[in-house]
Amino acid sequence: MNVSNITIIGERINSSRKPIARAIEEKNTAFIRDETRKQLQAGAHFIDVNAGAFAEKEWPNLKWVIETVMAAGDAPLCIDSSDPEVVREALAICGGSAMVNSISAEKERFSSLLPIIREYDCKVVALCLDDEGIPSEPDGKIGVGSRLVNNLVKNGIKPTNIYVDPLVMAVSTDKRSGVVALQTIEEIHKRFSGVHIVCGLSNISFGLPVRKLMNRTFLVMAMAAGLDAVIFDPLDKQMMANLITATTLLGLDEYCKDYIAAYRNNKLET
């Protein structure tokens, strides 16, 4: 079953996870195929693919992953690489239905990725980050994010293809990290209609115990602020239950269809 109004990007096929790195090394097709299918079954709309841990050998490994995932199901991919050459090669295989993770306002990265994104008319994650680094205050983040969106749109990228990522920082090293992210999400949501807002959910809890609890709680708060896409592990049942419930509570679930369907599929029992 699928939640309709929140875009779910399944993060499991990432080479920084040891079992995935091993599967890639051993070219274990069955393993990657299972990882793909399990995530799709759990409700993922995009399958994130990352082979960055292979550093200089990123491309040959990512190519194999892409082909394996594409053979396993027909979900669009999220190409997780910041190397423009790798992104270009990847899009040549999977085309315009893909999402690119990610572009930023860093001059070099922006100018090298923009033509590729434009050529394939694909979706793109846009990080609130420029050559000065990651702003730590909401004003800075909102400023960088807004300039980035404006520059992308000015250069022919459709607003609905843009997924702004506020780059959530750890609350363990700065108690305001949660608030800063929420304010950024709220303001970007207010300023740009049609533009999506996405984030990962694990940074927020870095350095603290019971991380999943904090990640889930943050997800719900971020959704209330305007987050409408999320990169996480869709096999995390509790997280998924929170996501579905929050969607319903935000008025995005007509006749509570998703919520009830999730109940019937035993997705709300955690």
Partner: protein, 212 residues
């Protein structure tokens, strides 16, 4: 309880006031600054390192301890200079080119300082040449560099190559770390040590100093 044991305990609690008072008092009582550092502050930080590694305490708690440690260190520093006490070793610290993630790096820096190392923090996004120049100008024995992204890891290799090219390979030991970094990658790029976490970085750094 001995005075220095009390200092170590206050440090572990992150009790800034007591660390301040006990450090000052210990100096007045006649303890050498080196002894206060070793048996008070370093002893306390060692316990914190072990407990952090074992997930008994968490990052914000370590940061509270770090604040207290800096208070103690700031009192001792001028005295240590006066008595000519030498740091364990000089460490150059930084995240590699293009990497902006400094939580782990700062933690390592703090733990190293707590263990008696002199830490020269080059900051984030450190170009190859800055590492090379810093080795020359500071006469440092260790470079500790981190990369938190798989995409910035290749800059570790390039930094090490730059060190070799500058003819400094025998002068300095290189320690690497960061979430995507593995022992295997460290070996592959010719680093002398790999540490999976901040407490291990201190152990590794001590080992590398011993190897000179």
């Amino acid at each position: 309880m001995s005075d220095l044991k009390r200092l170590s305990d206050a440090l572990q609690k992150g009790d800034v006031k007591t660390v301040n008072a006990l450090t000052t008092q210990a100096l007045r009582t006649g303890f050498s600054p080196q002894q206060i550092l070793n048996e008070g502050l370093i002893a306390g930080m060692d316990v914190i390192g072990v407990r952090f590694k074992a997930n008994e305490i968490f990052l914000p708690e370590v940061l509270v301890v770090a604040r207290a440690m800096h208070v103690g260190l700031n009192i001792l520093k001028p005295k240590l200079v006066e008595t000519g006490a030498k740091p364990v070793a000089k460490v150059l610290l930084g995240t590699v080119k293009a990497d902006l993630h400094d939580i782990g790096k700062n933690l390592v820096g703090m733990m190293l300082q707590g263990a008696g190392f002199e830490v020269i923090d080059l900051g984030i996004d450190v170009p190859y040449a800055r590492f090379v120049d810093a080795v020359k100008s500071n006469n440092a024995q260790i470079i500790a560099m981190s990369a938190l992204l798989s995409t910035t890891m290749p800059h570790m290799r390039a930094t090490i190559e730059a060190i070799h090219k500058a003819g400094l390979a025998n002068k300095v030991r290189i320690l690497v770390g960061g979430a995507p970094v593995t022992q295997r990658y460290a070996d592959e790029i010719g680093a002398h040590g790999f540490a999976p976490d901040a407490a291990s970085a201190v152990d590794k750094a001590r080992e590398l100093v011993g190897a000179f």
